[in-house]
Each structure stands twice: as C-alpha cells, then as structure tokens.
C-alpha cells in the first residue's frame, strides 16, 4: 500500500510539472495564475500523502490546511491585482458594460428585454 501511495505522489508530482507548462508559457498572465492555482491545490494533497507515508499525518494536516488557505488567498489576490490593473482609472468614465472583446453573448431565452450587448 505504501508503494501505491508513493506512486500516486510521484504521479501527482509529474502532472504538476506538466501543468507548469501553462505557467511558463502563458500566454497571458491570468493563464499563469490559473496554472499556479492548480499546482497549489495539488500541493496540499501531496503534503497529506507525505504525512501519511511518514505515519504522522496529524502533524501534516495543519500544514496542508494552512497551505490550502494561503494558496486560496494568493490566487484571489493575484486575480484581483490583475483585474485592478485593467480597470480604468478614475478620471475616465467607468465602462458600464463588460468588455467588448468578450465572447459572443446570447440572450438566455427566459430573460426578457435588456438590449443585447454582444461584441
């Protein structure tokens, strides 16, 4: 069973390394943030697996939980920062409608009225 856990851990590690491609390559910053988030979530699992292997999992749970929390905050902070940078500064009029280059919008059948805001 231990071998199985080690194998799972190594597999997770390899897949994390593969996800690193998205972090390195981009193409946009937000893609990198996404990749880092995926890696971070898996790190928490990896910590628990290591704890289980060393038979002291109760010590590692705190670490994993703390890591998961901080990873969550990091992701939110990075996303908020990215978002903030693309927001217009105050003197300009804030755009009311979403970005023009967003994917095409189709009106949901049940909503009525509301002019289309497709790109």
């Amino acid at each position: 069973m231990e071998q199985f856990l080690i194998a799972i851990g190594v597999a997770i590690l390899l897949l994390m390394l593969t996800s690193l491609y998205r972090v390195v390559r981009g193409p946009t910053v937000i893609d990198r943030i996404l990749g880092v988030n995926v890696i971070g979530t898996k790190t928490a699992v990896l910590i628990i697996i290591i704890g289980t292997l060393s038979a002291r999992v109760e010590m590692f749970i705190d670490i994993a939980l703390a890591y998961a929390l901080l990873n969550f905050i990091t992701t939110i902070a990075a996303a908020r920062f990215y978002q903030r940078q693309s927001q217009p500064v105050l003197p300009e009029v804030e755009e009311a409608e979403p970005a023009p280059s967003a994917p095409p919008t189709v009106e949901h059948p049940k909503t009525t009225g509301e002019g289309s805001h497709a790109a």
Binding site: D62, L65, A66, L69, I76, P88, V89
Partner: protein, 250 residues
C-alpha cells in the same frame, strides 16, 4: 559586462561546488551538525520545557533571544514601510497614484466565500498559535494566518471596509504591543532576579514547576509574536496595496 559577470560567477560557483567534497553527505546522521548540538536539544528539551515540539522549544526558549529580535525585525519592516510610504508626498517628485473606483455590486461570490472562510480561518490561526507546543505551529505561523484573514477580508470586500474594522493606529499599536509583550516577559524575568528571558522565573507567579513555567513562558511570547506578525501583515498590506495613500487596495 554581463558576460564578464557571468564568467566570474560561474568560476566562483565551480570553486565552491568542487570544494563541497569535504562537506558531509546529505542526510548523514554522523555529520557534525547532527551530532554536536542537536541530540542535546532533543534529549533535554522536553524535560526542561514540557514542550514536545523541539523546534518551538529551541525557537522560543533556548534561542529566545534570537526570536525576540526576529519579532523586532518584523516590526521594523512594518515601521519602515509605513515611514517611507506614508510620508506626505514630495511636492516636486511624487506623482499621485491613479485612482480606480471600487466596483459596486460585483463581489457577491467573493463576499460569500469570505463570510464563511474568515471566521474559521481565524480560529484555525489561533489554534495554530496555541498548539505550537504539540504540532507544527507557533506565533509566526498563527500570526501569518490571522493576518491573512484580514487580507482576505480586504480582498473580498474592500480596503476601506477593512480599515474601518481594524484602524491603522490600532494596527501600529499591535505591531509594537506584541514585541513589547515579548520583551516585557523577558524583562519581567530579569526583574524577578533571573536572567533575561529565563522563563523559569515565572514559576513563582504562576505557581507551577519550573518546566511548566517555561512552557507557559513560551506560550506567552508566542502570543506576543503572533500579535506582532498579524498586525505587521495587515499593516504591510495596507501600505503596499494602496501605495501608501490608504484610498484603495486590490
């Protein structure tokens, strides 16, 4: 120029790598680092401080003097960041930061998540702080998580909301107060006739054995560390995220 630097650094690296030959092997149980001081710590710490977590015992008691200054470093960082960023802008030099408005009615999801997560996170932080004796944790870790909960609040709501809950002046007071608690415990021991930071001096006040007094002393200074680290995290976030003008965060 860059190539020259690269060559010089590569040469230094090569020398240092080849010189690694007389360093002990990785994870060698017989290396001097593992055989000189560390057995003493592991074998004596529990008896002397009633703290199963040897790292905590060494951190807050054997090397408590270091840790006090470590807390001071944290405090110092917050102080410097505040003193540099919060100064009245220089008439000629500094540009005013661009101001982006807060988004109204947009953060439903983040706010909902923050409502659920933040209280749990704070209890977890206090748990980590309080159980530093038995599990990996202690003042720094607990303080960081607690401070992060305020940062999460500022991220999910906005900076103004957080500042209204936890004002800048109080943050600064907490920064100094935690370090003061640490140094104060040490000075109390000194006033009791023991050496600085000799928590065993607290045995008389608390009415427990010397080892237990050390254990409680460790908890006290960890609380001090936790307060400082928490406040410093928040303070640094306030200053850095808003560029020092406290108008808006991320």
């Amino acid at each position: 120029m860059k190539r020259l630097t690269l060559i010089i650094l590569a040469a230094c690296a090569l020398i240092m790598l080849l010189a690694a030959s007389d360093l002990p092997d990785w994870a060698d149980p017989a290396s001097p680092a593992s055989s000189h001081l560390s057995p003493g710590f592991v074998e004596q710490a529990y008896e002397a401080t009633h703290t199963p977590n040897v790292v905590t015992a060494v951190l807050a008691d054997y090397r408590g003097y270091d840790t006090m200054f470590e807390t001071v470093v944290v405090f110092l960082a917050a102080l410097i960041i505040m003193i540099i960023l919060r100064r009245t802008p220089h008439r000629r030099f500094c540009k005013i930061l661009p101001h982006r408005p807060q988004r109204q009615g947009r953060d439903t999801v983040l706010k909902g998540a923050a409502q659920l997560i933040i209280p749990v996170m704070q209890v977890f932080a206090l748990y980590v702080l309080g159980h530093g004796h038995y599990s990996p944790g202690g003042g720094f870790q607990g303080g960081v998580i607690f401070g992060a909960s305020f940062i999460l609040l500022a991220l999910c709501y906005n900076l103004e909301f957080t500042i209204n809950r936890f004002r800048e002046r109080i943050v600064l007071l907490c920064c100094a107060g935690g370090a003061l608690l640490y140094a104060g415990v040490g000075a109390l021991c000194l006033a009791m006739g023991w050496n600085f930071l000799g928590y065993a001096a607290l045995a008389g006040i608390l009415g427990v054995s010397e080892a237990m007094a050390r254990s409680h002393g460790i908890l006290l200074v960890e609380v001090g560390v936790g307060i400082t680290v928490m406040a410093v995290m928040v303070s640094i976030y306030y200053d850095l995220a808003s560029g020092g003008d406290m108008r808006e965060g991320l």
